[in-house]
Amino acid sequence: MSSLITKVRLKQISQCIESGKRLDERGLHDYRQIKIEQGVIEKAEGSARIYLGKTEVLVGVKVETGEPFPDTPNEGVQTVNAELVPLASPNFEPGPPDENSIELARIVDRGIRESHAIDTEKLCIEAGKKVFVVFVDVYVLNYDGNLIDASALAAMAALMNTKMPNYEVKDGELKTKQGFIKLPMKSHPITVTIGKINNQLIIDPQLEEEQVMDSRISIAVNEKGNICAVQKGGSGYFTPQQILEASKLAQGKAAELRKKLDW
């Protein structure tokens, strides 16, 4: 996901952070402006578009029927896919998903799955045979850093916006009734990504910061303040002390975002 960045720019970014500020005047632990629009695609059962600074992600949710996994016969299925669409960045190319988009999808998936955000037990139609399958498709439209937090927020917003057909089961057949029901949800996790530049921890790295940062850690936090998914990325390392610091930062930021978004 990286492209060349000049040594001069690198120095500029590190000096900036050293002095407790960011390129765009933000504090080290501030998010860029967040704007979420829900229900932007009428044909999808649920959708949301997020603007995180200049980063833009659209998430569509489709609900279809399918078979459950053999080890969870009475639970619905959740699948997350991410597309780094070529129009989002000069460095994205068309073709099958590369490791970056697969990792992004799996981080978003883990945040939702491990916090039990979707109440999958309520998505069972006939145990072992037929369940609802929730497809969450993450579509990156403009890449300016921190796709993980943007995608995770947009995915949750889209799921909260999802309406599925009202149905009843008659003789093992699925009959749709009038109206819609909301997708059953149990939890609203928020993922916070922390980057490390010159041993300083920053929140919500933008593109240029991502290109120079040593490593990142993404932490999903649920409403109780518990941690439900973690992923370290990038070719640097964290000291145990920094991990502790990052987990505290993530909890604080998640709570702050939760209040702001009223989740």
Partner: protein
Amino acid sequence: MNEKPVKLIDKKGVRLDGRKAVDLRPIKLQVGVLSNADGSAYIEHGKNKILAAAFGPREMHPKHLALADRMVLRCRYHMAPFSVQERKSPAPSRREVELSKVIRESLEPALFLELYPRTGVDVFVEVLQADGGTRCASITAAALAIADAGVPMRDLVVACAAGKVDDTIVLDLHDEEDKLGAADVPVAYMPSLDAITLLQMDGILTPVEFQKAVDMAMCGCKKIYEMQKEALKTKYMVVRDIKEKDEVEE
């Protein structure tokens, strides 16, 4: 399919395979097991059986992937079709693609990438049998393979998981604990530098439990680190013995 066993840990704190909370599974490490690779290692970690091989530093192929200012490390984590209960398709799954990436990123901090511009090191990890915690065992073996290839390293990378099973934080989860437990925290660590190079988690943990799991995993790493160093030395003892024998015969 199958009902959860009532307890994964009994009243005395003994786990299904007879271990206590802070015990590792038995580990066997061997270095230099493949003659064609520049470096190789084999690990048996519980029932995990994993081979790792390293090639390089060598010219990048294809050439356009080479970087002018540093070495490129490539990793492939792959599971054999017969390594798990139900046959796994040999085509790379999304899980394997992600693990290849996180394993690479856990090894990169140990290498002096900037000292070998335009070259590449390839690490291939083949999981012959999986029993929970394969990414950790793979990292432990891959680091040994790279060291065996003679690539200078800041430190060996060693990995171990901790997790939560039946409300207890335990070290080194096996397959059943991994699947039925409440949380799993794999950690890769460079003990001499006190640097964490891989950290993942799934499940739900309170911040205090999370911290405890990371600490416990680091303790496990330190124990395996000693075995890693021993395995590397052992290979060269064998080489020395053979050489001495040859000299006597001459």
